[in-house]
C-alpha cells in the first residue's frame, strides 16, 4: 500500500543572523536556545504528529545533534512518546545513527521497547549520519561504514535471538551476554530501513533486503539509487516489491495555488538555514579520498566547496517542484506531481513528506496534511501501481511461546 510518512526535523528556528556565527551545526552556542520556547516547539511538533495519526498518515522522525536545524537528539524518545500518543500510524525512525552510538545493544533494546508499546508499529531505520554529526559523538569517520554494518548485524541478531544470551566480540563491539528484554513485538523484528545518497550503500541494502530511502535527490538522482538496488537484487535473483523504496520531498497542499505557494515559501527555510562550516562537512574518511582531494584543491584555489544543497538554496518554488524536491500545490496538482515522479523513478510505496520547516505552525501544517490525507492520498492509493508484497497493514503477530 502506498504510504505517506509525515516528517518534521523539529527545528529551533529562532537563531541569530547567519553572519554572526560560523556554523549552525556543531558550534552554535546553546545560549541561543530558549528552554520555554523549546518546550512549546516540542509540543507543536508532537501535536502535528498526533494529527497525522488521526488522519491516517504515517510518521517519520529523525535525530541530529548539536544543531538548531533539528533539535531532536534522540529519535527513540520521540518514538516513545508517539508510541502512546498515536493509535494506528506506523512509526519510522530514520533513523538511529548506529555508527555514532557506542552501544548497538542499547539501540536494539530501545527499538524493541517502542515496538512493544506501539503494538508492532515500529519501522527501524539505521543511518550512517551526516559528516557534521561525528563531532557530537566523537566517532571516527574513517571506519564508519564498517562500524555501521557491524552495529546493524549486532542489533538484528539481538532482536532475533530469543534463546538466551549470545556473545559478540567483533572489531568494534564487545558483549559477552546479549539477551535483550523486551524482544520486539514484530517477528523476527521491525523492518529495517537504510537511507542513503550513494549507490554503494544502495547495493549493500539490496544484499540484505532492507528498505531503501533516499532524500531530496530529484528524479534523476533518486532513480540512480533505486536502480542500483534493483540491479543488485536482480543479480541475486530477487525482485524487490515497491514497498522496498522510499523517497523524501518537501510537501505543502493548499486549497488554492496561492495558499500552497505561501506554504512552500515557509518550507524553503529548510534549504536556506543550514550554514555549516567547511571543516564539519569536508571530513577525512567520511568523504571518499579522491573527492576530498578535489575539495582540498578547490579550497586551495579559492573555490568555495559545494554544499549538498548548493544550487537549490536560491531556487524558486517552481524550480524546486520541477526538480522533484518540492511537491506543492492544490490537491490535484500534488497528485499529478507525485504521480509523475513515481513514474520517473520506477515506483515506490513510501513517500516521506517533510511537511514542516522553520516557524510553520501546527495550524498551517495540519491544514496541509488534512488536504493531503483527504484529497491526495486516496487518489495515489487508487491509481499508483504497486508491486510485490506491500508493508503489512497490521504488522502485528501474535506472540507464542514458540515464536522466533
Amino acid at each position: 500500500m502506498f504510504r505517506t510518512w509525515v516528517f518534521t526535523e523539529m527545528p529551533y528556528p529562532f537563531t541569530p543572523p547567519e553572519e554572526t556565527y560560523e556554523s549552525v551545526r556543531v558550534t552554535l552556542p546553546s545560549r541561543h536556545y530558549d528552554p520555554d520556547t523549546g518546550r512549546e516547539l516540542f509540543h507543536r511538533y508532537y501535536d502535528i504528529y498526533k494529527r497525522a495519526d488521526e488522519l491516517g498518515l504515517d510518521i517519520m522522525v529523525n535525530e541530529h545533534h548539536s544543531t538548531a536545524t533539528c533539535v531532536e537528539p534522540s529519535a527513540p524518545i520521540s518514538l516513545g512518546i508517539l508510541a502512546r500518543e498515536t493509535k494506528t500510524a506506523r512509526l519510522l525512525a530514520l533513523g538511529n545513527p548506529i555508527a555514532n552510538r557506542s552501544d548497538p545493544v542499547r539501540v536494539a533494546e530501545e527499538m524493541a521497547m517502542i515496538d512493544i508499546i506501539s503494538g508492532g508499529r515500529l519501522e527501524a531505520g539505521l543511518v550512517r549520519g551526516v559528516p557534521a554529526e561525528i563531532s557530537a559523538q566523537n566517532s571516527n569517520p574513517v571506519d564508519m561504514k564498517e562500524r555501521f554494518w557491524e552495529a546493524a548485524d549486532l542489533i538484528i541478531r539481538a532482536w532475533e535471538s530469543h534463546d538466551g544470551p549470545f556473545s559478540w566480540e567483533g572489531k568494534y563491539f564487545h558483549h559477552r551476554q546479549v539477551n535483550i528484554w523486551p524482544r520486539p513485538h514484530q517477528q523476527p523484528g521491525p523492518t529495517v530501513w537504510i537511507p542513503t545518497q550513494s549507490t554503494s550503500t544502495a547495493v549493500e541494502a539490496a544484499e540484505r533486503g532492507y528498505t531503501l530511502a533516499t532524500i531530496l535527490n530529484g528524479a534523476k538522482g533518486c532513480k540512480k539509487i533505486f536502480d542500483a538496488y534493483r540491479e543488485r537484487s536482480a543479480e541475486l535473483g530477487v525482485t524487490p516489491g515497491s514497498d522496498k523504496f522510499a523517497y523524501l520531498g518537501l510537501v505543502f497542499v493548499g486549497e488554492t495555488e496561492q495558499e500552497a505557494q505561501a506554504g512552500a515559501r515557509s518550507l524553503q527555510w529548510y534549504l536556506q538555514n543550514n550554514k555549516t562550516a567547511d571543516q564539519f562537512m569536508s571530513v577525512p574518511g567520511y568523504i571518499d579520498v579522491h573527492a576530498r582531494a578535489s575539495m582540498l584543491r578547490d579550497a586551495a584555489n579559492g573555490r568555495a566547496p559545494q554544499s549538498p544543497l548548493a544550487g537549490i538554496v536560491d531556487a524558486s518554488v517552481d524550480e524546486l517542484v520541477e526538480a522533484g524536491l518540492f511537491f506543492v500545490g492544490t490537491p490535484d496538482q500534488v497528485v499529478e506531481q507525485v504521480t509523475r515522479f513515481h513514474g520517473q523513478v520506477g515506483g515506490f510505496d513510501n513517500f516521506l513528506a517533510m511537511v514542516q520547516a522553520g516557524t510553520m505552525t501546527a495550524g498551517m501544517v495540519n491544514r496541509s496534511m488534512e488536504l493531503f490525507a483527504e484529497e491526495v492520498l486516496p487518489c495515489l492509493r487508487r491509481d499508483l501501481p504497486i508491486s510485490g508484497p506491500a508493508l503489512s497493514d497490521t504488522a502485528v503477530t501474535t506472540p507464542t511461546a514458540a515464536a522466533g
Binding site: S135, N140, V142, F280, V289, H290, R292, A293, L296, A300
Partner: protein
C-alpha cells in the same frame, strides 16, 4: 647497511614483517631515519636537503599517507611504531639515529619505549602524543573542528612561510587527502595522544633532543618541550627555535638541520 655515497634521491619499497614501506634515501654520510608528520613527506624537501649535507637520510613514508598504501593491519600509532622498529632492526646492524616530526615524533617515541636499544639518538621535533593537561583542557588544537585557514595560522609561526597549496598538482592533493585520512584513522580518539605514553617515556633512554618552536600555537600543552625532556629518562636536551611555529622543519629547515647535526655529532656526556 653500506653507506651510500651518491646524493641522488631514490624511493624504494622495503618489505618488512609489519608492512612494505616506500623509503626515500638521499644525502651523504652516516644514516639517519626520518619519520614525517601529519602532512606526510609533501613539504620536506628543503629540510631533507639540509640534512643530506652530512647524513644519508632514510625518509620512511608511513603506510596510509599515500606514498605507501594503507593496510588493514595498520590500526594505530603502535602499529606504525612497529613499522619503524622493523625498519631500524632490519636495515642497520647497530643503533641508528632517528628524527620524528610531530606525529612522526609520537611514532618514534612509541617505538623507542618498547625497544630501548633501537636508536642511538632520538630527535623529536614539535612532538605530539602525550597529554598532561586536565581532562577539560585541550592539549592540541582540534584539527577537524578548526577552519582550515585558521589551522594553518596555528601551525606556522610566520604565515609567509606556509606552503602555497595552490601550486600542488592533482597527485599531491591526493597525497594530502590520504594524509589527513591517516591522521584521522590513528589520532581521532584519544585525540593526538596515547594516554600511556607519558608514563612510558621513562623507558626512552637514548640521548634525546627535543625541538620546539617558540610560536607553536597548535600545541596547547604549556612548556611542552620542557615537559617531554622531564619525562624522558635518557639524557635529553631541549632547543626552542625563535619565531618558529609547529612546522619547524618547514619554517626553519637549515636551522633545524644544524641543531640536529650538532646534537648527533656531540659525544655523550
Amino acid at each position: 647497511m653500506n653507506q651510500v655515497v651518491d646524493t641522488t634521491r631514490r624511493v624504494e619499497d622495503v618489505s618488512l614483517t609489519s608492512a612494505t614501506v616506500a623509503v626515500e634515501r638521499s644525502g651523504q654520510g652516516p644514516p639517519v631515519m626520518l619519520v614525517h608528520g601529519e602532512d606526510g613527506s609533501l613539504f620536506l624537501n628543503p629540510f631533507i636537503e639540509a640534512l643530506g649535507t652530512t647524513r644519508e637520510v632514510h625518509l620512511i613514508n608511513l603506510p596510509g599517507w599515500g606514498v605507501t598504501p594503507g593496510s588493514n593491519d595498520i590500526e594505530g600509532i603502535d602499529d606504525l611504531g612497529l613499522v619503524l622498529s622493523d625498519y631500524a632492526t632490519s636495515q642497520f646492524a647497530s643503533p641508528t639515529p632517528v628524527i620524528g616530526l610531530s606525529l612522526g615524533a609520537w611514532v618514534t617515541a612509541e617505538a623507542a619505549v618498547f625497544d630501548q636499544g633501537l636508536f642511538s639518538h632520538v630527535v623529536l621535533v614539535s612532538p605530539v602524543g602525550i597529554k598532561t593537561t586536565a581532562r577539560d583542557e585541550r592539549s592540541y588544537a582540534d584539527i577537524w573542528a578548526t577552519d582550515p585557514n585558521e589551522l594553518r595560522r596555528l601551525l606556522y609561526g610566520d604565515p609567509s612561510r606556509m606552503p602555497d597549496l595552490s601550486a600542488l598538482d592533482d597527485d599531491e592533493f591526493l597525497r594530502l587527502a590520504h594524509a589527513s585520512e591517516a591522521v584521522a584513522r590513528h589520532a581521532w580518539e584519544p585525540y593526538l595522544h596515547d594516554p600511556k605514553l607519558a608514563r612510558r617515556l621513562v623507558r626512552l633512554t637514548a640521548p634525546t633532543l627535543i625541538v620546539t618552536g617558540t610560536e607553536d600555537r597548535f600545541v596547547l600543552e604549556p612548556s611542552f618541550g620542557e615537559r617531554w625532556a622531564e619525562l624522558i629518562s635518557g639524557e635529553s636536551r631541549h632547543v626552542a627555535l625563535e619565531g618558529v611555529g609547529h612546522r619547524a622543519e618547514e619554517e626553519a629547515p637549515d636551522e633545524l638541520a644544524a641543531a640536529i647535526h650538532t646534537f648527533l655529532a656531540s659525544p655523550p656526556s
